[in-house]
């Protein structure tokens, strides 16, 4: 049953006054899945969420809920609930009445409303806060009320629109873990929108990377991190060295002036490709044994590792290493075949200089 599609978006597009904000999106969400829409601002992730919530109508395409088209169903008849950006709590109601709002509409008996609101307050760690005014609460507490207000209605899907955006870093990390454990305990499908790649990697079962109204890649966090579909995804998810290269033949690629064995194949011979190497996948070796040699331009201590910028003449590599080499020294660089990620070039082949500029 868990593999059953709960929501299907089929070839959905959306125009605002002639501007295409969603361009032929297809996506499905399974029951009890934690799906994150990830992308920079303006990529269409919030619009996607709002279409599912019922606040926007797609210009084209279908939206299925358990196989039935719900495009024309108004928001108040959909079995989804939303946690809005900046919460949108009702300031004229206290905490209890905010949470009870949905239940009151369904004409739930008062005793049951009180019981379920109490239960929710306990779940989000706000026991005893029922009579408080929402404006008197801190940002984190308001956030919890917003979540409780949605969850008390026992939705099939909870939509969260950058719910942690207004919180400070420490609280955000705490809430990430809490949300994840809440989702697992309650067994509710979460659709989460964020521009924070770390948040996405921490919480999600599935990540949908979007840009300019298009889906670039769908996959689980590890897959997206290790096998980014293109240079944009690689750059957006974690730090990367992105170079233009040439696939000489299967399992052999040339970039930064050298040839490297790799594990990818099927690109043809002498084809232009994008090459992505994660900073932590480059090993520093003696100058004489490296596949590349370079000079260390700068060293920054980052807590668990050092970040070094190493100039090989044709490209400046970003390298993470736990051992420090002094600035100005010459080192060798080595990359194992498995860690070289080859992908179709995003645009026309970039020249080496441009790649260098964007990497520095």
């Amino acid at each position: 049953m868990e593999n059953e599609h709960l929501i299907d978006l089929i070839h959905v597009s959306k125009d605002f006054d002639g501007v295409k904000v969603l361009d032929d999106i297809s996506l499905y969400i399974r029951k009890k899945e934690f799906v994150t829409l990830l992308g920079p601002s303006g990529c269409g992730k919030t619009t996607t969420l709002r279409i599912i919530g019922g606040f926007e109508t797609p210009s084209e395409g279908q939206l299925l809920f358990e196989g039935r088209d719900i495009v024309s169903l108004p928001p108040y008849k959909r079995r989804v609930n939303t946690v809005f950006q900046k919460y949108a709590l009702f300031p004229h109601l206290n905490v209890h009445d905010n949470i009870a709002f949905g239940l009151k509409i369904k004409k739930t008996p008062k005793a049951e409303i009180d019981r379920r609101v109490e239960q929710m307050l306990e779940l989000v760690g706000l026991k005893g806060y029922g009579k408080r005014r929402v404006e008197a609460l801190s940002g984190g507490q308001q956030q919890r009320v917003a979540i409780a207000r949605s969850l008390v209605n026992e939705p099939e899907v909870l939509l969260l629109d950058e719910p942690l955006g207004a919180l400070d870093l420490k609280l955000r990390k705490e809430m990430q873990l809490e949300l994840k454990s809440m989702q697992q305990r309650l067994g509710i499908t979460f659709l989460y929108v964020t521009h924070d790649q770390e948040e996405a990697l921490t919480m999600s079962d599935t990540i949908v990377v979007m840009r300019d109204g298009k889906i670039l890649q769908i996959g689980d966090p590890k897959h997206i991190y290790d096998e980014p579909a293109n240079a944009f995804v690689a750059d957006f998810i974690g730090e990367s060295n992105i170079l233009s290269g040439t696939m000489i033949r299967d399992e052999l690629v040339a970039f930064a002036g050298s040839e490297f064995p790799c594990v990818d194949f099927g690109f043809g011979s002498n084809a232009p490709v994008d090459v992505v190497v994660r900073p932590e996948d480059i090993t520093l070796v003696g100058e004489d044994v490296g596949q590349l040699t370079g000079t260390i331009r700068s060293v920054i201590f980052k807590g668990v590792h050092y970040e070094m910028m190493i100039d090989t003449g044709s490209y400046v590599f970003k390298v993470h290493s736990t051992t420090m080499q002094p600035q100005g020294s010459r080192v060798g660089l080595s990359i194992v075949p498995f860690n070289i990620h080859i992908m179709q070039p995003m645009n026309a082949p970039r020249n080496e200089k441009e790649a260098q500029d964007s990497a520095v």
Partner: protein, 330 residues
Amino acid sequence: MQFNSSMPWWSYLLMGAGLLAFIALVAQSIWRHRGVHRSLFASPYTLWMIVFTVLPVVLIAYYAFTDSAGGFTLDNFRAFWDSNHLMREQLRSAAGDEVAATVVRGSVNIDTLVYSLWMAFLCTAICLLLGYPAALFMADRQMKLGATIVVLFIIPMWMNFLLRTIAWMSLLEDTGLINQLLEAMGLGKRQLLYNQGAVLLGMIYNFLPFMVFPIYTSLSKLDPRLSEAAADLGCNSWRTLYKVIMPLSIPGVISGITMVFMPSVTTFFIPRVLGGGHTQMFGDLIEAKFLTEGNWNVGSALSLVMMLLILISLSILRKADPNGEGGGIA
């Protein structure tokens, strides 16, 4: 649709209920059908404004550009520029060009307009001079006046506007309170009523609150830390007022000026009562054209000219307040 005061009182209620029912019906049908698109909520208002604001203005423009037979003409504007225009045209057809040429340009309309603008300017300037300090002191947090003082400025407006003006007659007339005071002090009687000064006083009296409120609103919205910051940076209290507070209250000043200047140009009751009919203002002129002379076409032309003048001066004023924040009177 003739209704007059001989109708029983409940018929008024009935009509009111009918009107309410209409609006409730419109509203009901709107929010039943489309939930998400709230912009439709504005449709009864839009309809209302088209019928009762846009259409009437179009009518004024129509009358201004037509003659009594309905044909297009610019004569009404000529009559505005030259109040003898119509007489001259009649003479031309009756007695020929030579006689007509002896009729000089009548400058009544232009003179009245200039006079009205001058009076309105004086009134606005004095209201600003009197009102700004008042608003400043009202907004002064150290004075701890709160909302009470605002209410004190509103309450006089509940006395009927006409009666408030008439009351000034009792104060200003020869045997009035002020003259009695002057006499008692051995200063002798003065002619206070039925002159330009009395009209100006009446205008200032009626329009001063409209200058004070917007300025007060914009001043009380200012962050009190601003003056602290200015003091911290070395401004004395005069410099703070001049360099920080005054520039920031410009939006309020502008809406104050608008709200005083506009009714000042067009007032027609105050000059009639306190000026004794000696001083005619542009509002009187328009009213007379419509109700006394029955010349709607020239009256409409006059109204149109006045509206244009006001719109032009407003758009110049708005330049100084590009955000259009204003102060509002609420």
